[in-house]
């Protein structure tokens, strides 16, 4: 009896539709029943939910200070409304547009450069036999992902250092004179992007490799029967199999274009390369926390978040149109 009343009804409901004529219990009843039966689970969720509310949702409401003249004494809700004045100031600021351009160029470059290389790595690894070499390549290329940003940036700085760096040693060997890569704004983007590729290619390849491992073996056998070469197998089987995964990864990457990592750009920055390394995130940090202009910084951040969200939705829409697969349906 107890079994019937507790376990069966939800199942019958989840079978959905119920054209047979069983009416769904009302929302209120279902809520009350679920709560009475599983109150311990709701209780369990309480702390994490409060945490989310406090650290994720309260900040969203705090973002109203973008429309206010924030004053520490008056507090967030007590400060005076100023409408769109902060946004106006941001847009009117001649320093703002180079930031947008830097952010956009940098992340677009990172997406373009970071996209094909993991696929290439995964395809190559997929071609060779399981064995010591394959395991070594996987283990080694995967490792940099776990090194901290601070360490990767320091390594980059040291290896590119004009005096003691590995690169200038190498260039010196060929008679090229020393270049201070980090002091040159022209090099900043390349350094940023390629050190990123260095760090994450192995990690991203893992996802593609898992997709390749899931390809139906009968496809390869059919290809073998037809006398397909390795290259043909890659072109006609591997690449089409990777497409849905690749689309998702690309969509997510493009959707994150404006949210490009603060941490690394900030660490690679120096006064000499600032003209191409100052991006929106670092600007928000400096305006907000160093210059204590909270309202202005929030306005910039909010603008960025909104652009980012719109971009994600838009790219997902395009991807679904073109390939039939997106991140969400």
């Amino acid at each position: 009896m107890r079994y019937d009343s507790t376990v069966e009804p939800p199942r019958a409901r989840s079978a959905g539709g119920s054209p047979g004529g069983i009416t769904r219990p009302g929302m209120g009843l279902r809520a009350r029943r679920s709560f009475a039966r599983h109150w311990t689970l709701y209780l369990l969720m309480l702390v994490p939910l409060v945490h989310l509310a406090v650290f994720k949702y309260v900040p969203m409401t705090n973002a109203v200070i973008a429309f206010k003249d924030y004053n520490i004494v008056k507090g967030i809700w007590g400060s005076d409304w100023v409408g769109l004045r902060n946004f106006q100031a941001v847009v009117d600021n001649p320093a703002f547009w180079p930031l947008v351009r830097n952010t956009f160029t940098l992340s677009f470059y990172a997406v373009i450069a970071g996209f094909p290389i993991p696929i290439l790595l995964a395809l190559a690894l997929n071609e060779i036999r399981q064995g010591f070499f394959k395991r070594t390549v996987q283990l080694v290329t995967y490792a940099p992902y776990f090194i901290s940003t601070v360490v990767v940036v320091s390594m980059t700085i040291m290896i590119l250092s004009p005096k003691i760096g590995l690169v200038s040693q190498g260039l010196g060997f060929f008679g090229v004179k020393q270049v201070d890569f980090l002091a040159d704004p022209d090099y900043f983007r390349h350094i940023y992007v390629w050190s990123d590729v260095w760090q994450t290619a192995g990690y991203s390849a893992v996802i593609y490799m898992a997709t390749l491992a899931g390809v139906d073996p009968s496809l390869y056998e059919a290809a073998r029967v037809d006398g397909a070469s390795r290259l043909q197998k890659i072109w006609h089987i591997d690449l089409p199999s990777l497409r849905p995964t690749a689309v998702i990864i690309l969509v997510l990457a493009v959707g994150n274009i404006m949210a490009i990592g603060f941490e690394k750009a900030f660490l690679l920055q120096n006064p000499l390369n600032l003209s191409s390394s100052e991006i929106i995130a670092t600007y928000v940090y400096k305006t907000g926390l160093i210059n204590a202009d909270f309202s202005q910084a929030t306005a910039v951040g909010l603008l960025n978040s909104v652009v980012n969200l719109v971009l994600l939705v838009f790219v997902n829409f395009i991807a679904k149109r073109l390939t039939g697969s997106g991140v969400w349906s």
């Binding site: 809520a31 599983h38 949702y57 071609e127 995967y142």
Partner: protein, 340 residues
């Protein structure tokens, strides 16, 4: 089907392509099905020679490509390690390539005698330990209820969790919350605000939903086992591999992070290792000033060496657990990818 199977190895010694292929496929199919049939050596060779010259060229290029990948990733790492064991003069004059020059441990001795680094180390261990514990607890506490299909309100709550991945209030509004709670410049600021990772919640919830059979719960319920006891006695022991993955993800993120410390901490005694590293490695803040030129050069050389040693020291804790992590992370990524 069994007929060509037996004859195939005999029939397919020449270049009779169609026969060879069917035989090949059948044998492979059988082998996969677990039969004891083994391929004789000459069959193997026959299959191998069908690879054309183009294919072999292609395979060669593949190996070449992989070796390039390997070298590109490995060389900088080896260079750093080699430099960290070299003498200050060799490092400063750029003599070190992939092997230590004038082997010495001076870099490490200097690094480990710096109280700021030791404090940073201890702080990082503390933040990683406590932070991971808090994070894993909170993650399970929300992921498990969300994995129970019959729970009312599960969809909207999951939506609310996922939304935080798409949109956030931003840096300053979050900072204001932390400030209002009085967490600025306390250890709590390092472990509480970022405690829940949406991705980890998705992974955990997917794991609970797909790996814990419903029948188990039904049986437990018949025996009068409540939700919490079921979670504690049945689900958590079964979910150990997933918990390990999630814990490692949190631990590594926590160990590697410096940004929260930069935002919320002012007291140098609370700095985690990464922030200490940033100050030494990137900002070049070397505390004691030198007096005369020779001492300054000496100091500068040692400072260069110190950087290499520090990089190695800071990465050791992660690299020690890396082989374990590498094995399990793949699974973790895939569990998340199923959903994401």
């Amino acid at each position: 089907m069994s007929q060509p199977l037996i004859t195939a190895p005999v029939a397919d010694t020449g270049d009779t392509e169609p026969a060879g292929h069917t035989g090949d496929t059948a044998v492979r199919g059988r082998r996969r099905a677990g039969s004891g049939l083994r391929l004789p050596g000459h069959r193997r060779r026959a299959a191998r020679t069908r690879e054309t010259g183009v294919d072999r060229m292609f395979l060669f290029c593949t190996y070449l490509l992989l070796c390039t990948f390997l070298a590109v990733v490995l060389l900088p790492l080896l260079h750093i390690v080699a430099s960290s064991f070299s003498s200050p003069i060799a490092v400063s004059s750029g003599q070190v390539f992939l092997w230590p020059v004038d082997f010495t441990l001076r870099g490490y001795r200097t690094a480990l005698s710096d109280p700021a680094i030791i404090t940073g180390f201890l702080n990082s261990f503390f933040y990683t330990g406590v932070g991971t514990l808090i994070s894993v607890t909170l993650t399970i506490a929300i992921a498990y209820p969300l994995s129970r299909k019959e729970l009312f309100g599960r969809g909207p709550i999951m939506g609310a969790v996922l939304l935080t991945m798409l949109f956030s209030g931003g840096l300053i509004p979050t900072y204001l919350v932390v400030q209002q709670l009085g967490l600025i410049d306390t250890r709590w600021a390092m472990v509480v605000p970022q405690a829940i990772g949406v991705w980890q919640v998705v992974i955990a919830s997917t794991y609970f939903r797909t790996m814990i059979p419903d029948e188990l719960y039904e049986a437990a319920q018949l025996d009068g086992c409540g939700d919490l006891r079921f979670l504690w006695k049945v689900v958590l022991p079964l979910a150990k591999p997933m918990i390990a993955v999630v814990a490692l993800m949190y631990a590594i993120t926590q160990w590697n992070s410096y940004f929260d410390a930069l935002l919320y901490l002012k007291d140098a005694d609370l700095y985690p290792l990464q922030l200490v590293l940033r100050n030494i490695l990137i900002l070049n803040t070397n505390t004691n000033g030198a007096t005369d030129a020779a001492a300054m050069i000496e100091r500068q050389q040692l400072a260069d060496l110190l950087k290499y040693s520090l990089i190695v020291i800071a990465s050791v804790p992660v690299l020690v657990i890396y082989p374990f992590v590498a094995r399990h992370f793949t699974k973790g990524i895939m569990i998340g990818a199923v959903k994401g």
